[in-house]
Symmetry: C2
């Protein structure tokens, strides 16, 4: 007997979530218990209507309390109070199929205030701006919109985990603390024991990781395909709506990959899989539906819907090389201004134009100039490689309205090429001996990519500021708790 | 059309994993391609036998190369080389159902070395000790045992994610960087921008989190039930086989929980669910089976099997209070020595005896003395509370051979009680204003727990040293890459 029956019985003594109350509907006219916070109150002479929400679902529960002639019940009279409601699960005459009726005089029925609120409780029914809510880090997730973002993020993460499992990618936990500082000291955080008597705790300087890639490459060389969703850190003094100092990055490394198209197809498949699952109503409770139900304005809902439609409807996301992209921009966008030259950066403005206006689709841009990219990318395939203007085998996924969402590449698997490239960039290969050793011990062709998880969530949920999809966002000067 | 057919076709150009080759068996006598590292080589006059493994499965592929009279093939002659094999998928005369035959003279058949190894390649067929392998951080996951641990950990994580989804717990990402240092400065890491010209990057000192609990409580107060699996950090100078400076902690907070038994039942259910799923062979590829297949010694396999049997077979895990536990230890274990007094710590040795010898089962110990526990735990329920010897509403899950695996409690939800308790411990409530504010704004009864994820994986996989279940373990003086 693997799962004793007592567990089901005892564990179910926790009050059900409101999501469960709607999904696993109790028999009509039976008594139920539910808990949550009061979202709104309407008082009438004989009845008081409460909206009760617990953040488990976009739906709130309509509770009808029978009054005894007075206008207000003694309890449960302030928005924000947490309550336990015992009442009858009845058919509704309102917009929802069911509601809870608290019958005055029924000894089994009650509305009990579990925790009250001050008169100036700041989360009211009226639609506060997301900017205002950022000043309320401990209360802002009481709003429908921000609660729905957290649920959405949770659902998307599970959906991605299933995609990777189906594709035989092993989830790994690369280190957060690392002694490799390959992206330059100006943008990393350094870590020390607060107890200085420990001296150098790790005997050498330790940093917070900026990317798990190098460690993932090591693990992919043993496990074939690996992925992770891990916190990464950048000590950048950026105050934009798309940067965080602490963010979660989804990274994957796949062995035996030899062409960029294998990676871009994998990425397209991954994002499409997530979208297909989130649109479905059964398998994961309808993530998209839950998201849309939590928005107040039709304009917001429209923005989300059109993004999802554009991701899903196009037969295949186009893929163009950097060289082709320069040409396209010069021919169609830059006619009046100075043309871009080979080697120039493609600006975020140009990226948004390329995806949003020109292709009207997510687009892969591949084979960027070597000088724009890190040391570990191999030359582009011989059919397009030009030693005068060397490009490397990499890609960015560019999304309308946002710009870069995913970046990836093949990884140079030849030791000598790697060492030459590092030296030409003034890097000391000795400090990366551990990484380079994989190229001497049964090196395999491989490639991978990284995706800023908050950016994906912000894009899919139609949120402009990445700080609103992070539960406790960290940015310069912002670490209040 | 949501998922264009080109994706299936193009994406599948990545060589299949060996796990896929076994699971989605190709038609007999068809040609297949597979990639991996050579695990062993046996040369005979006419045939060479290779074992090829890619870390995707406990199974390695048997490859039979036909030689042309010489003993050795020109290529593929060293253990550790990575190879691409093109050959025929045939029925086997050996222990496996199928094998790959590389027919000499067939122009479509070949064994190509993708990356060679030095003569002293350290991962050989012979069973290296885990301690020896710890000195090879970039190669140790080439071994069957350690690769299987990573796959196992990945599978258990997915299984847990499904359990929490079914139980309406929202996965959240609490912050890693925090300005709350509630566990004392001696054991935390402090974080600064490596670029000192930034000054205090966050305007106040920032630390690496030691536990997500306080932030989870905040989120649970909005989302009802939340959980996370996040890195935590302790700057402890511990060199034991059960401590890491960087580890992943599974934490959950559930609202509207009022009894310890609701939490202990939840935890028991969670662990049993994972065990049931991992034993199954279909839903997730047989995690336990994969684990056992990767062990060399019958003794190792026996150890794992007996642990799993003991977890699953007992009808209900017992639950005893701290006061009862002291009595049990004094009556049955401590007869000859000094008796334990109320208020004494229960040592790890006593914990192991309690679970392993006395109950022969995992056991919950509840209601520890207040002085042994943090400030946020409420008094035990009135039926057992004694103001002379105050206990608090908490529990530890004690596991045979290991000791504590999970710790949890109800959380004090009354503001005044919390403030009194903090002051009595010399804590300054002003520094925790953000946390305390949840008790003023619709406070809810709630409780939760934390589980050291590496400890769970180590226990379930029968591994003694926690450093062997962490891909890149971090400990004092150990941060090599």
């Amino acid at each position: 007997m693997l799962r004793p029956p007592h567990l089901v019985a005892r564990y179910s003594t926790i009050a059900p979530t409101i999501r469960d109350i709607f999904h696993k509907s109790a028999p009509i006219n039976s008594d139920i218990t539910c808990c949550g916070h009061i979202k709104s109150i309407r008082n009438f002479k004989k009845l008081t209507f409460l909206d009760v929400s617990d953040g488990s679902s976009a739906q709130s529960l309509n509770v009808i309390m029978e009054n005894s002639g007075e206008n207000k019940p003694e309890n449960a009279h302030l928005v924000g109070q947490s309550v336990e409601v015992k009442g009858q699960w009845v058919e509704s005459r309102g917009t929802q199929a069911n509601e809870v009726r608290v019958v005055r005089g029924n000894p089994n029925h009650s509305v009990t205030v579990l925790g009250t609120v001050p008169e100036n409780y700041p989360i009211q029914k009226k639609n506060s701006t997301l900017q205002f809510l950022r000043g309320l880090p401990t209360l802002r997730h009481r709003t429908s919109t921000l609660a729905s973002i957290v649920r959405f993020r949770s659902g998307i993460e599970l959906s991605l985990a299933k995609f990777f499992e189906e594709n035989r990618c092993v989830k790994v936990s690369p280190p957060i603390l690392t002694s490799s500082d390959c992206e330059g000291a100006g943008k990393v955080f350094i870590v020390e024991s607060a107890n200085k008597s420990n001296g150098k705790f790790f005997e050498k300087p330790a940093f917070l990781t900026v990317s798990a890639q190098l460690h993932l490459e090591v693990l992919a060389s043993s496990l074939n395909r690996v992925w992770c969703l891990s916190p990464c850190f950048r000590a950048e003094d950026s105050h934009t709506n798309r940067h965080l100092c602490e963010f979660w990055m989804l990274e994957a490394e796949l062995s035996y990959v030899t062409e960029i198209a294998q990676l871009t197809d994998f990425v397209e498949n991954m994002i499409r899989s997530v979208i297909v699952e989130a649109r479905g109503s059964s398998s994961n409770g309808g993530l998209l539906q839950d998201l849309l139900q939590s928005r107040y304005s039709e304009e917001d809902r429209q923005k989300v819907t059109s993004r999802w439609d554009s991701l899903a409807s196009i037969e295949k996301w186009p893929s163009v090389t950097y060289n082709e992209t320069i040409k396209i921009i010069n021919e169609h966008k830059n006619k009046a201004s100075e043309p871009l030259l080979w080697g120039d950066d493609i600006s975020t403005e140009h990226e948004k134009w390329l995806a949003g206006t020109h292709f009207k689709s997510p687009v892969f841009v591949t084979d960027y100039p070597k000088a724009q990219k890190p040391f570990y990318m191999p030359n582009s395939n011989p059919a397009i490689f030009d030693s005068e203007r060397p490009n490397v085998a990499c890609f960015d996924l560019i999304i309308p309205e946002i710009g870069e969402l995913v970046g990836g590449s093949l990884r140079e698997c030849n030791l000598d090429n790697l060492v030459v490239e590092m030296k030409s960039r003034g890097m000391n290969p000795d400090t990366m001996e551990w990484y380079l050793s994989t190229r001497e011990n049964g090196s395999t062709p491989h490639g991978g990519f990284g995706l800023g998880f908050e950016r994906l969530i912000a894009y899919l949920s139609g949120i402009d500021n990445i700080k609103d999809v992070s539960a406790f966002p960290r940015a310069p000067g912002i670490c209040p708790c």
